[in-house]
């Protein structure tokens, strides 16, 4: 972009530009190293046998690197169970959140602006509250509300996968409604009007016209919501009492205690917990970023 084509003509300026390039790259590289070191250090610690780090110290060159810590953490830390718990909560929560959000976003567009904005404010503001603001009464509510035995082995919302998924849905749908209603505003209204004239039902229009058109936004939100819900630490910490039923992120709290004496195993456990989000990072980076920016730059 800048005039590097003829450096001889104005040497002073060219030198200054080159100096600034060097400074820029120096700064960026320094920052990048500072950003990578914590993660690389965690991986490095996880790959080293405990005995060796005890003998040689943690800041030392490795004699052996192995995945033994990962294997041990996997089996002694009940990782298969915790991953399963995360899946049981996260997958239905994401699907239902997006379904509900796309219906509400489509629905509000059919009503007057005044009603529309009130609903949007309720949902959006609800999503922006800190979780701790509502937790005290929510906890009491979860202890009191009955739930059919079909989805709850104690007949309550408390200490159940169902209860955790429901609060995720209620909390996350605000953000999704906000994003989707903005996205739907950019769609041409003629499409739905034409279908209405042809006698299509509202549900049919939503399913076969609106949803396909919203596919990019839905893909972005699905990626983002998977990460948000998978990463959530708080709800299950309070609302899921049984340690073995907690999703992996909340279970880290217990694992931290269990692996207290073995730093290397703790590092391996934390990395295992991070793997699904790292996969999202690698495979769905574009969707993740567009999800984040859809929420912030529109509306």
């Amino acid at each position: 972009m800048t005039a590097t084509a003829h450096p001889t003509s104005i040497t002073g300026r060219a030198r200054r530009i080159r100096m600034r390039r060097v400074l820029l790259y120096g700064f960026l590289t320094l920052m990048a190293v500072a950003w990578l070191v914590p993660l690389l250090w965690a991986i490095y610690t996880a790959l080293r046998p405990y005995a060796e780090t005890q003998a040689k110290g943690y800041v030392s060159l490795p004699t052996t690197l192995s995945i033994d810590n990962f294997v041990n953490a996997w089996s002694t830390g009940n990782f298969p169970q915790f991953y399963l718990n995360s899946l049981i909560v996260t997958i239905p929560a994401v699907i239902i959140t997006l379904t509900i959000a796309s219906m509400v976003a489509f629905g509000v567009s059919k009503f007057s602006w005044r009603f529309n904005i009130l609903v949007l404010i309720l949902f959006t503001a609800g999503n922006l509250l800190p979780q701790q603001v509502i937790i005290v009464p929510l906890y009491r509510l979860y202890l009191a509300l009955p739930l059919p035995r079909l989805v709850s082995d104690n007949g309550l919302f408390y200490d159940q996968y169902f209860g955790i998924a429901v609060i995720h849905i209620a909390f996350q749908m605000g953000f999704c409604i906000f994003v989707l209603s903005n996205y739907m505003k950019t769609l041409s209204p003629e499409l739905t009007e034409a279908a209405l004239v042809d006698g299509a039902s509202v549900v049919r229009i939503w399913w076969s016209i609106i949803l396909p058109l919203c596919r990019p936004a839905l893909a972005a939100l699905a990626t983002l919501e998977f990460t948000f819900i998978y990463n959530d630490f708080f709800w299950a910490l309070i609302l899921m009492k049984t340690g073995l039923k907690r999703p992996i992120t909340s279970a880290l709290q217990n694992l931290q205690g269990q692996f207290y004496t073995d730093t290397n195993m703790l590092a391996a456990g934390a990395m295992l917990a991070a793997i699904p989000t790292i996969l999202v990072f690698i495979a769905l980076q574009r969707h993740f970023i567009s999800g984040l920016t859809l929420g912030a730059t529109k509306g």
């Binding site: 950003w35 509400v104 005290v136 630490f233 993740f288």
Partner: protein
């Protein structure tokens, strides 16, 4: 179509938010029903504000420090990274990717990753410090005068990348023609940013300030994973949580702290909603 979700939202989010306000006027301990005898008016708030409960004002101060640090250190750094990487320089993608990795990680994982850096015996930093001859390196997470700052470094590790992503998207939406015009008029790169790009980014600047404020008020996971949010790491969010998890569950008192957090949170939320409404076509 809207009824059920609206009911869910009111029953599980707004209902409890309002119930927090009502419960904060009682001394209910969670056992048995609430009767007229439990009503104690504003006593819980008096206990909080007068300092009878010693952790309240420190927690408020810590939340404010958290906010200040994110707002004046991490967020500007994220903006700077976005501005530097918004140009066609070699390796821009690589640098963006590096800063963006921590954004996908859960804050609980981030807390543990930084524990691995900060640990006195097994951590990177103190072992490195001892390597260069520091006899007694600090106990970053254990020392109550240091741990807040150590936690803020961990929180910023994620926040900088988050802000960078948002700001990069905003920068892409600025019409390149107005930048080009300013450059042709002889403005330096810094002048172009300060006088042309930054003002044109007004809407996204507001969003970023609001997001930073909300992140600071929501701060919980890192502090909780470090030590349960005690010993120098008290935050309003951790006080509410420990009031629930402690043996003598003080429902009314915990609710009062929650109401304080609610009232503070409404400030950025209202700013955000105000902007949302202003942009709505009438």
């Amino acid at each position: 179509m809207i009824g059920i979700p609206l009911f869910l939202d009111i029953a599980l989010i707004w209902g409890p938010a309002i119930a927090s306000i009502l419960l904060s006027l009682t001394n209910w301990n969670g056992i048995g029903g609430i009767t007229g005898k439990n009503l104690i008016g504003l006593r819980n708030y008096q206990d909080l504000f007068s300092g009878t409960y010693p952790f309240f004002w420190p927690a408020v101060a810590h939340n404010l420090i958290w906010l200040g640090f994110l707002m004046f250190v991490a967020t500007p750094l994220g903006i700077l990274m976005a501005v530097l990487l918004d140009r066609e320089i070699r390796g821009s993608r690589f640098y963006q990717t590096v800063f963006y990795i921590p954004v996908v990680l859960s804050l609980a994982v981030i807390g543990i990753i930084w524990q691995l850096q900060y640990s006195v015996d097994n951590g990177l930093i103190d072992n490195a410090l001892r390597g260069v001859g520091v006899a007694n390196p600090p106990d970053w997470f254990g020392d109550p005068s240091l741990n807040l700052w150590a936690a803020l470094v961990a929180a910023s590790w994620r926040h900088v990348g988050y802000i960078m992503i948002l700001y990069l998207a905003g920068l892409k939406s600025v019409d390149p023609a107005i930048r080009e015009a300013a450059r042709v008029d002889g403005a330096s790169e810094r002048q172009v940013f300060v006088h042309v790009v930054f003002p044109a980014m007004q809407p996204i600047n507001v969003v970023i300030v609001v997001i930073t404020a909300i992140e600071a008020l929501r701060a919980f996971d890192i502090a909780y994973i470090i030590n349960g949010g005690r010993n120098g790491l008290e935050l309003l969010s951790t006080l509410i949580t420990s009031s629930m998890l402690s043996e003598a569950s003080r429902v009314g008192f915990g609710s009062a702290i929650a109401v304080v957090l609610l009232v503070i949170s409404l400030v950025p939320i209202v700013i955000f909603l105000g902007r949302m409404m202003r942009e709505e076509p009438r």
